[in-house]
Symmetry: C2
DNA sequence: CGCTGGATTGACACCATTCAATGCCCGTGG
DNA sequence: CCACGGGCATTGAATGGTGTCAATCCAGCG
């Protein structure tokens, strides 16, 4: 079952609670956050390079990404984002966007003004720390991707990314050992620095090894241990609280 | 002339002022920061995966990097660090290291306790924002490296990295169009996801094109415009203040 | 029912790796 | 003073992992 869209508050809770513990005071403050929710279309660009946003977007459903295009027309996807993610939290402190934020699969997105977030942080400094952690984990994921793209074989690379997507989906309650919003093979290629053809071959290899199975846009993990081994996946870099870590 | 080691305060000033404007109050607070300075050896590892640091390190001279090793023994260097950099600022909020910090070239390093930094931030909230920007720019550089490694040719890749190193060195006053601490070809390879042999060929190509020249561990830019073009280098992602941007 | 987006497959080309050897600079020790 | 060794740069040859090109297939959809 494709997940429905939870409330803004629920989305933020789910994500932030993977990273810090919230007091009831803080939860109430989050519930009071003013936001504007909107349906986004498939492929819609939320933010472009050079934009100076005055609000942050919070993904409620669908699949978003951050991406950049290079001279030869190729694209690099730098992150995937699902329920609870704040792909442009950085715009709070860096005024001009150095990359795009786009929807790969249509879904609901909440927009929260910088002003409101700044007020929240002022009144609840621990929330500032929470967002800080969110940002730092973001950077840790970028580093993991660099290692992946720079130094692993295509086979390992794909396995590693799938492991990450599964863990991050499970952590916000989007299913165990399942990815509902599997990126297309083209998108996976653009995320991993590989061609679509080679992604296809590699995915088939992973299927032949009985590590994964796919049904349309949905992927199931058949052999979690095996997939982790193939991708040399160690979730330490995700810096999840101990209570949410695990198979 | 290889640059000498400035004071801790000077180093921090130089770096932070590329990113924010400091008030005299804030400068004074920085001057009072307690720190322990130490000479580090060539190749010395400052922090290992799994460590839980209680202090941050500030590079005063030499060349540091963040790196990670993968199963097949290969290394990925995720960033280079020079005068004024705080390679493990993240340890303020993420308790356990998910990568190494090591010295590639010996130099002086200052260690400042988390406690002292937290106090500084509490008393001068704008300093918290400054460190926040520092961290976010770090992440922006990771993204730029991902694009570089994932989607550019070896030739472009090397050129782009050299452009970045030149700009970041100049910005803290380490010379114009010159890199004093040029990484070895092996280190460049490990940073760019290329083999040492291919780095060698690519560097020679760049020399043959009259874009760069090398003399031992020092590199000079002969044709800045040309090198930028070769690397598709646009410094926007470094989010420098307008006053420090430029050739 | 034709169209479109995505997945799949085969053949072939090429960029980059690996292996292996050589050269160069420099610090060290006999 | 010179031989030696270590770290780094350089080069050639052979191999191979991925990319490119091109065609086919399939499912969903208007």
């Amino acid at each position: 079952m494709p997940p429905s869209s939870p409330s803004i508050q629920d989305a933020l809770f789910r994500k932030l609670e993977t990273v810090v513990n919230l007091t009831s005071e803080e939860r109430k403050a989050i519930e009071r956050l003013p936001a504007h929710v909107r349906n986004t279309g498939n492929g819609e660009t939320l933010l472009r390079e050079g934009d100076r946003p005055s609000q942050c977007c919070l993904i409620l459903s669908g699949l978003a990404c951050r991406q950049k295009f290079v001279g030869n027309g190729h694209r690099q996807i730098m992150s995937f984002h699902i329920l609870g993610d704040l792909p442009d939290l950085q715009s709070l402190y860096l005024d001009v966007m150095d990359h795009e934020v786009a929807m790969l699969r249509s879904g609901k997105v909440a927009f929260i003004s910088h002003v409101a977030i700044r007020e929240l942080i002022e009144q609840h400094p621990r929330m500032g720390a929470a967002f800080g952690r969110h940002t730092l984990i973001d950077a840790a994921i970028f580093r993991a991707w660099m290692v992946n793209i720079g130094r692993r074989s295509a086979h390992s690379r794909v396995a590693h990314l799938l492991c990450e997507l599964v863990v991050l989906a499970r952590v916000v309650g989007l299913g165990k050992k399942v990815i509902h919003h599997l990126p297309t093979q083209e998108e996976l290629g653009d995320a991993l620095g590989l061609s679509i053809v080679h992604i296809n071959r590699t995915m088939r290899h992973l299927r032949d090894e009985q590590l994964i199975a796919t049904e349309g846009r949905q992927l199931s993990i058949l052999d979690w241990k095996g997939l982790q081994r193939a991708g040399e996946f160690d979730p330490a870099y995700l810096h999840l609280k101990r209570t949410v870590v695990g198979g």
